[in-house]
Amino acid sequence: MNYIELHNISKTYDKGKVLAVNNISLSVSEGEIFGLIGPDGAGKTSIFRMLTTLIIPDSGSAKVLGYDVVKDFRQIRNEVGYMPGRFSLYPDLSVEENLRFYATMFGTTIEENYHLIRDIYVQIEAFGKRKAGQLSGGMKQKLALCCALIHKPKVLFLDEPTTGIDPVSRKELWEMLRKLKTENICIFVSTPYMDEALQCDRIALIQQGEILSIDSPQAVVGQFDKFIYAVSSDDTYKQLKVLMQYPERLNSYPFGEFAHLVVAGELDEIRLGEFLKNNGLNDIRINRINATIEDCFIDLSRQTKV
């Protein structure tokens, strides 16, 4: 069974003036980690709010665990866990009180499902008496995740759980999600960090309310039909300007310590090297590389704009 299903879902705001989600369809199955990957304003949070029954779609239909998001909102609310992008626990309750409150609300106890949250909770347990409002960003995030998990939901919605969190905590969070997956919890997660796409079983690249691509991260990368060369030299800024002039260039952009040059087919690397050298660059290195998710996103978002 599909745990999550969206059929032609659209959502507008401001009396139809702002189109946040444009005719999106997708489905997620049991035990799957599904990632919505896209920048701010892509429509990620709107999709989360519709699936967690907090707002109603303008058109289309959506089901979570077989329940309709409009008619059966009570059932859905009982069986899913939701961690919004913005911290929304009670700042004046302590860490323990928040957790107990959420457990009680869902008719369970901390003890009953402690095994699900143990790995995260031990990291904040020492601060159990501290008010949630006084926790640091990373600890708030961990508490929020515990509260979303304490009733053993079948589907876990995590809206940008890693935003603003340092790379070590991000890595830990993903390790935990993989562990939860083995408990057969379906995880629906969003992130603006393209590199995190690789942690998901399947992803949807999303921009301006539309899906650019939806598949496994490996398949998304595999569908990239152009050649990419990573170029580096002694002057990064000059190199960017020079690459813009290369005759066979389809696109070029900075990418970490390199610039990526996108072309239609195989390049004569020696010719490219000479071109760069004749334009005053030194220490030139050129390597053909495979596309990353970010290269795919850039390529796909160009295609849709044209």
Binding site: P39, M139, P192, L240, P254, G256, E257, I298
Partner: protein, 244 residues
């Protein structure tokens, strides 16, 4: 010539040492990445360098000015931009620029022609009278950066400047940073995007208040024998004792 020099710079809050004797320098026109885990002490250090807080011990100079005695001079010679707050949403584009120009002591006579140039370059000439709140995020970001360097500061501090921005706009933003650096403006940037760290000439990585690594990204990767900055970060920061 250095834009920033710090020598055993330290900040304590009671018994807690937030910044623990950090020593580093940043060259003029350099793009310097200031990385570290949440709670490593980056923000505290940056507040001192921006003239907003006094150190407990050690020395530092920013744009040639002393962080103890010349805070006001420091503020006049730096620009600052963060993702969280940069522009007033309820002012128009031109009102924002006039306001920031004025804060930094420019006269209206200087502001007007410079503003025209800047909006022209950004392709925002037609948006001068629109509220900032009505602009797409990517435009806001570029406008915020241009506003932060509108008074031609010696150094610009960028605090998580591009989080949440789409990959295409982020790159246009970095091209603007390269351009500013090529004109001699020093760029001091914090980020959680490790690929973005690799755009920097050099980066420092803070762990528990100390700077545990400082070098060009390529050298750091070589030193740790890993492929990505993410791995460098992980190798260093997972040993952190501080739980934020």
């Amino acid at each position: 010539m250095y834009s920033i020099t710090a020598d055993k710079l330290t900040k304590k809050f009671g018994n807690f040492t937030a910044v623990d004797a950090i020593t580093f320098d940043v060259k003029e026109g350099e793009i310097f990445g200031f990385l570290g885990a949440n709670g490593a002490g980056k923000t505290t250090a940056m507040r001192i360098l921006c003239g907003l807080s006094y150190p407990t011990a050690g020395q530092a100079r920013v744009a040639g000015f002393d962080v103890y005695k010349q805070q006001e001079e420091i503020k006049k010679n730096i620009g600052y931009m963060s993702q969280k707050f940069s522009l007033y949403e309820n002012l128009t584009v031109s009102e924002n620029i006039e306001f920031y120009g004025g804060v930094y002591g420019l006269r209206m006579k200087e502001i007007r022609p410079r503003m025209r140039n800047m909006l022209e370059t950004l392709g925002l000439a037609g948006e001068a009278n629109k509220l900032v709140s009505s602009l797409p995020l990517g435009w806001k970001q570029k406008l915020a950066f241009s506003t932060a360097i509108f008074h031609e500061p010696r150094i610009v501090f960028l605090d998580e400047p591009t989080s949440g921005v789409d990959p295409v706009t982020r790159r246009q933003f970095w091209e603007m940073i390269y351009e500013a650096a090529s004109r001699g403006i020093t760029v001091f940037v914090t980020t959680h995007y490790m690929d973005e760290a690799e755009y920097c000439n050099r980066i420092s990585l803070m762990v528990d208040g100390r700077i545990d690594a400082l070098d060009a990204p390529a050298n750091l990767k070589k030193q740790f024998g890993v492929e990505t900055m993410s791995d460098v970060f992980y190798a260093l920061a997972r040993g952190a004792k501080r739980n934020e």
